[in-house]
């Protein structure tokens, strides 16, 4: 009984900390009284340290009590008994969520400490930390989610904070455009997740992972749905994971994401956010086991993405993009491991890769400085030996492959040509038809407001 109270208290501490941080930063900004830099940094540090120690305490307690699965019930957020609908708020501590939660706190803490100095006197300092708090909350909720709806909740928060941070330097056009592209891909992928979540809820009568994955803590659960349902829902979840982890065909957003400030690039696209798709697949791995076809799809997607990532990474001309594609390669290999059923290997791979990549990305801005110092010291450029491929591949193929790599597999171009352009074209055509129709009825131009140029002194509605 005492251990239950302790677990509950620690669980609440872990989740409430980031929530309070977001509430503090968000409220003060909305009422136009933003906090100072020092206070923001201190609040962030306090919350991260408190959350990290609480998570470690949970781990120690679980190890000492020999528990492998600890649910922390927060009650029903919404319940409609007559319709058998309930939105259950539940967090779970098991062998998957605890490492991921601790990892999130450690990396977010590192990045928070780095950002508080890196962004010193930056006009968007406060804005950065609002998005940071949003991201931290999203990551913690996703990591500890005990129901699929709660996981979706966290998933969405991570998506929004990612898009806003890519557009952080928002007085420039490129970051904003890239932020919108990322948000668009996330939303399409999230739509698949939402449908999958609701289908699961519908099939099993609950969104609870314990109900979905049957008895036994992770990774020993047995899903209780049919193979066909597992295939359909699994494909939807794979689609969602591909969007979040930038697997093919969604890989185009990953280098675009590097438009954001270095700390956010590190925490999102190097370490945590990019692994969230893999985390989702790990969490629903009992569903993957039900359908060999689904496992095969996961392996194939991972393989294709890994090959794509490793090829494209080789020709990148800026360090952040090179690291982004290197990340993609590793994440794709993790997905292959999950498809093969190597869950612990995948989890260890995630933790190792996330830590390494975060430090690499944080180091990236000062790397060139050191590189140039080295070249100045030896008085020449550092030479690189051509790779094995360059030496054995005929030049004709090398050029073609190089172009393919330079164009990033033409993924963005294909997306623009076959999805965005036809879609926008269709609706623009509908819009022009509507315009002609209303002009015909009213006998005057209906769209003069579109040609009105903004005037600075307009305090009159027109």
């Amino acid at each position: 009984m005492n251990s239950e109270i302790a677990f509950h208290f620690l669980g609440v501490c872990i989740v409430a900390g980031p929530a309070l941080l977001l509430a503090l930063f968000g409220t003060t900004s909305l009422i136009n009284k933003p906090l100072g830099e020092r206070l923001i940094a201190q609040a962030t540090q306090t919350v991260v340290v408190m959350g990290l120690f609480a998570a470690i305490a949970v781990l120690v307690l679980m190890l000492s009590l020999g528990k492998r699965y600890v649910p922390v019930e927060m009650g029903n957020w919404v319940v409609l008994p007559e319709q058998h609908f309930h939105f259950h708020l539940k967090f779970i501590f098991d062998r998957l969520s605890i490492p991921f939660c601790i990892l999130s706190f450690i990396l977010c803490g590192t990045v928070g400490a780095f950002a508080s100095r890196y962004l010193h006197r930056e006009p968007g300092y406060n804005r950065f930390f609002i998005c940071y708090a949003l991201f931290l909350l999203g990551m913690i909720v996703s990591s500890l989610a005990g129901t699929i709806e709660t996981l979706f909740f966290g998933w969405e928060l991570v998506g929004l904070s990612s898009a806003l941070l890519v557009a952080f330097f928002h007085e420039r056009l490129n970051p904003v455009r890239n932020g919108l592209r990322i948000w668009s891909i996330y939303r399409i992928a999230d739509a698949a997740f939402l449908v999958a979540a609701i289908m699961l809820h519908h099939l099993t009568g609950a969104g609870d992972f314990a109900e979905l994955m049957g008895t036994g803590s992770w990774p020993d659960g047995q899903a209780s749905i049919s193979e066909q349902h597992a295939l359909f829902i699994g494909l939807l979840l794979l689609f969602a994971a591909a969007g979040k982890s930038a697997l093919v065909p969604f890989s185009g957003w990953l280098p675009r994401a590097m438009e954001g400030p270095t700390p956010s690039s590190a925490v999102f696209y190097g370490s945590l956010s990019v692994h969230l798709g893999a985390y989702l697949l790990l969490r629903v791995s009992p569903i993957l086991e039900l359908s060999p076809l689904l496992s095969l799809a996961v392996i194939l997607l991972g393989l294709v993405s890994a090959i794509y990532g490793t090829l494209v990474a080789r020709v990148q001309t800026d360090i952040k993009s090179a690291l982004a594609f290197a990340s993609l390669t590793q994440v794709s290999i993790i997905v292959v491991e999950i498809g093969c059923g190597l869950r612990y290997i995948a989890l260890i791979h995630i933790i190792g890769h996330a830590c390494l990549r975060t430090l690499q990305l944080l180091r990236a801005p000062s790397l060139f400085h050191d590189y140039h110092s080295l070249e100045n010291a030896i008085g020449a450029h550092l030479t690189q030996k051509p790779s094995l491929w360059v030496r054995i591949m005929p030049e004709r193929y090398r050029v073609s492959l190089y172009r393919f790599e330079l164009e990033r597999g033409y993924l963005d171009m294909l997306c623009n040509r076959f999805i965005i352009t036809p879609f926008v074209g269709l609706f623009r055509y509908c819009d022009s038809l509507e315009s002609r129709w209303t002009n015909l009825i009213s006998g005057e131009d209906q769209r003069e407001s579109e040609s009105v140029s903004p005037v600075s002194d307009s305090l009159e509605e027109n």
């Binding site: 909305l30 904003v176 449908v195 519908h202 009105v452 005037v455 600075s456 307009s458 509605e461």
Partner: protein, 486 residues
């Protein structure tokens, strides 16, 4: 006999707005008119909130008004508050209050405070009435104030008049036909079809939606907003069509609404002017509300009613933010980037919060409603339900796209301060508080909407049961007549 409220709250609120309107007619000074209008709207809002609290305290599904003036005149309870309308009344009054509060005083000549109060009186009367003919009459009268503004702005009102004329015609024809009792049911089916078409037209279903963009284009943002945001079309469907329409008809309406939701979401993505963008965004959301309402299942209907409230609050806040920005820069073109964040960071934040709330972002009022709605739709049409998700996704992309266009992308130079004024700030913050508060603690709201949904479905079942009994009776009469005839 219905239980009675402690006071005739609805009549008092309508009376306050009507008397206030007359008072403002004789207030030539704009500043004074603005302040008086705020007082009147605040008082009306408080009265409707008291009415809601009173209704909740009675723990009943419907309640009539005591000491009713109308009852003395017509011997009929014209104002009845029930589970459906109880929260809609304070919501409508709040919407009017916040719109007036966030109106710049300089707009007194184009945004008529007096006409706004008349519109409010009509709206409150509509939402507290269950009598079909009263609803038809009030919905018809409600189309006049925007028309007056078209005329005063000297703009062509043909599109509006054509659509609203058809709307009134269909309403009246449907009302007339539904008052005839026929054994075959053909007349009531035609009446239902006419009323449905009218309500859908008022809601802006495609291809009868062009009046809405025309309205936003040609009259003040405030008036247009107050005309469409309360979603009286949806109210008309629930009161006039829902009880009599067969299941297949309701599901047909749901499909049409779903097509509108996706189409409008796509159109919102390609708009080049902010008001038109808002119009399509609203159209998409209101169509999603209709999808839920037409499911005729407790879950879908609860979802629809929840989304109705959340969309009403969040999109009102969103529009008021857009209006505040427009007040500073003139009509907002979406062809270019404006980079206003630096000058109006608070408005940017509020724009984002209210916009995201409208698409049911986690932690906001619309989240649970959207979940319920999608689950309700998937329950009946597993594959079609995904269209709701697609519409929501497209809307969210459109919202962020406009956020970036308006607030980012360039450096904006301004010669004067563009910061939000205190009343504007207060107005939008109230809506944000409702949006976030309702998102973090949704249970009471959802339960209340669930009660309303169950009530509506029960009423509908009763009507169908009565019809079935009367049809069975007439069939047995007919058989008896055949047997006894020589």
């Amino acid at each position: 006999m219905l239980p009675e409220l402690h006071l005739p709250w609805m009549e008092i609120s309508v009376l306050i707005t009507l008397l206030g309107s007359i008072w403002l007619k004789f207030t030539p000074d704009r500043d004074r008119a603005y302040k008086r209008c705020i007082r009147i709207c605040t008082l009306t809002c408080l009265v409707t909130i008291c009415g809601w609290i009173d209704f909740v305290s009675l723990k009943t599904f419907a309640a009539s008004e005591p000491f009713s003036l109308f009852y003395r005149l017509f011997h009929k309870n014209l104002f009845v508050v029930d589970d459906l309308s109880a929260p809609l009344l304070p919501l409508a009054a709040l919407l009017y209050l916040l719109t007036v509060l966030s109106t710049l005083k300089t707009k007194g000549h184009s945004f008529s405070f007096s006409n706004t109060l008349i519109s409010e009186a009509i709206l409150l009367s509509t939402l507290s009435s269950k009598e079909p003919w009263i609803i038809i009459l009030l919905l018809s009268v409600a189309t006049i104030p925007p028309l007056l503004e078209f005329r005063s702005n000297k703009r062509s009102s043909r599109v509006y008049v054509l659509h609203m004329g058809l709307f009134v015609l269909l309403l009246v024809a449907g009302g007339l036909l539904s008052s005839f009792k026929d054994q075959s049911g053909t007349l009531s089916l035609i009446a239902g079809a006419l009323l449905t078409t009218a309500a859908l037209l008022r809601n802006g279903i495609i291809p009868l939606h062009c009046w809405m963009t025309d309205l936003f284009d040609k009259i003040t943002f405030g008036t247009a907003l107050l005309f469409v945001t309360p979603m009286t079309g949806a109210y008309a469907i629930l009161r006039l069509v829902f009880p009599i329409a067969p299941d297949w008809a309701l599901q047909g309406i749901a499909i049409v609404s779903l097509i509108t939701a996706v189409y409008a979401a796509g159109m919102a993505l390609v708009q080049q002017e902010a008001r038109r963008f808002f119009c399509y965004l609203f159209l998409s959301h209101s169509s999603l509300v209709l999808v839920g309402l037409e499911m005729a299942t407790p879950l879908g209907l609860t979802g629809g009613l929840c989304v109705w409230i959340s969309v009403g609050i969040s999109l009102a806040g969103f529009a008021l933010t857009l209006r505040s920005v427009e007040a500073r820069t003139g009509r907002i073109s979406l062809k270019t980037y404006h980079g206003l964040y630096e000058h109006t960071p608070t408005l940017a934040g509020l724009f984002l919060v209210t916009g995201l709330a409208s698409i049911g972002f986690p932690g906001t009022l619309g989240f649970i409603g959207t979940e319920l709605l999608i689950e309700g739709v998937i329950e009946i049409y597993p594959l079609v339900g995904t269209a709701v998700v697609i519409a929501t996704a497209l809307n969210s992309i459109a919202i962020l796209q406009v956020y970036f266009r308006v607030f980012t992308g360039t450096h904006h130079s301004a010669s004067i301060s563009l910061r939000a004024r205190v009343p504007e700030h207060v107005a939008i913050l109230i809506l944000v508080a409702l949006v976030i508060g309702g998102g973090l603690y949704p249970q009471p709201g959802v339960i209340s909407r669930n009660h309303a949904a169950i009530q509506l479905i029960q009423q509908r079942d009763e009507v169908f049961q009565e019809n079935k009994v009367s049809v069975d009776y007439s069939l047995s009469e007919h058989k008896h007549h055949l047997k006894t005839s020589p």
